[in-house]
Symmetry: C2
């Protein structure tokens, strides 16, 4: 079985959301124990991961040091987090596999995701990133060409486009490595967004791609049998935060979409996961939404929200 596991923020930060280097290393080390168990159970594994807190930190560094060191664009920050998170994954996963008597073949590819230059999201950026700033400071950033929105009491926040992922440009390399027996990390943070201009030129752009939507595209390109979206809850829930809260087990894409249409899943959190699961399931795969420590059960079909067409 070929499985793609999409690791959420809780696999990369402390329980309170802190993203100090030691928090990131501890969380990833724990997550790699879970990943190694899946490999030991006989699956080929592709890993992908989020990068929100890490990118947030890099943006702040850029802003604060801008008068002394040239800031780098958002797409560069995404590439930077691919480097650090991959380093932590490789360092933790290789010995975790070796301890289980498995070949410690691990690799991470720097990965880009193709988006359309005319994606409608570019016209109306809506994804908030980075920290809140007072209006006066936001005004300076707006002068530099960024888009910021008044978010009320907490201040202003930068918004960027979150375009649709069309294709992982580096899935081919990931496939070669998977076929050779490697556990491969690919498309971290949804992949660095790039557009292809008319003359064939590739150009990375300042945007954020939802990592679970990219995971669905990558899983399809790699011919994965199962995609697991590993998050901080055991399953998607209808009636979340109400007395009628009910976790969802096995469910069809159509039923899941109907529930989504009724507004059961929050836009910024479970909503994109449900959408990503639906997209992968409708191409014939199985998608599971579950917590990090239930990945093994999820692959066996005994935990999580299991979505099929």
């Amino acid at each position: 079985m070929r499985a793609l596991i999409a690791l959420g923020g809780n696999a990369m930060t402390a329980p309170d959301g802190s993203a100090r280097p030691e928090d990131q290393r501890a969380a990833i080390t724990a997550a790699m124990e879970a990943a190694a168990d899946v490999v030991a159970a006989g699956s080929q594994v592709v890993l992908t991961h989020g990068n929100g807190p890490q990118v947030g930190n890099l943006l702040v560094k850029n802003e604060i040091a801008a008068s002394i060191v040239p800031p780098v664009p958002l797409d560069w920050c995404g590439a930077q987090t691919q480097g650090t998170i991959a380093m932590l994954i490789l360092d933790a996963l290789e010995p975790a596999l070796a301890r289980r008597g498995l070949a410690p073949r691990v690799a991470a590819v720097v990965s880009r995701t193709l988006v359309a230059a005319d994606d409608p999201h570019f016209a109306e950026p809506s994804k908030p990133i980075g920290r809140y700033l007072p209006a006066a400071e936001a005004a300076v950033m707006i002068e530099h060409g960024q888009q910021w929105q008044d978010r009320g009491e907490r201040g202003w926040r930068r918004v960027v486009a979150s375009p649709e992922p069309l294709e992982s440009l580096d899935a081919g390399a990931a496939a070669v490595l998977l076929d050779a027996g490697y556990v491969v990390t690919c498309s971290g943070g949804g992949g660095v967004p790039v557009v292809r201009d008319g003359d064939g030129t590739l150009r990375s752009v300042e945007a954020v791609i939802d990592k679970d939507l990219t995971a669905a595209v990558l899983a399809r390109q790699l011919g994965a049998d199962v995609m697991v979206i590993a998050t901080d809850v055991d399953a998607a829930v209808v009636g979340f935060s109400t007395p009628q809260a009910t976790p969802l087990g096995a469910i069809t894409v159509d039923k899941l979409r109907a529930l989504a249409g009724e507004g059961h899943f929050a836009g910024g959190s479970m909503g994109p996961k449900v959408e990503a699961a639906g997209r992968f399931a409708e191409t014939g795969g199985r998608a599971v939404i579950t917590s990090l420590h239930r990945i093994g059960e999820a692959l066996r079909g005994t935990a999580g929200t299991n979505v099929t067409s």
Copy 2:
């Protein structure tokens, strides 16, 4: 022919050394035209690269923002630069290959280099990195566990260990991709330095590995026929900056080492390149030191300092 090309700072920054994002992209785009020409001439190509100015910028951002955002260690900065430089290489190389009618197969692996935990360089850090600071500010960093040295008029500067590269831990993945027809970027910035503890744990460490010495190790691991060290001069020179300056053409390792022993090559610049070329040549390969725009001639043996055993 399998060729490893080690790109120096001038392939990644403006002629004046500036490393703004647009400088980096322009320099790398030009370098990838040269690399694509080599692929078009029939060679399998592995790319590696330096990252000094880029790491320097990241260290400054860390320092300036430290009271607001947790700084990351030096090894993390190296991993960050692998991400950004690889992104630029991939974006530029893929269309450059396509324009030449070649399969645009490009990949970059996040790469670590094994060093010995008891490498003697750790006891006497000597590699200066980052910016100069006044004594009082350096004292604060020293309190945080860093080593800084008084460099005279310009102020104090951080020094780190530059241990010997023993093995690229990610050469295996690079080999798989090369065999599958990919142009592969590996071991950027000399690779993130990692040590293996007694229990098998891998741990990245704050150090800087000379990128040319790592290139020699990587070239050997990948079975490269030729290693090209691409820099800003056409050849290594004896009597550099004197009226008797003479560029070196074909030369044996023994003769080159004898000249190095006489002090012909500067410690921080040509010295490590000569040492790296010698190490690769003595394992049976051919090493060439030349400028970026002479890589093609260098591979044919008609330019640069050609070192053989």
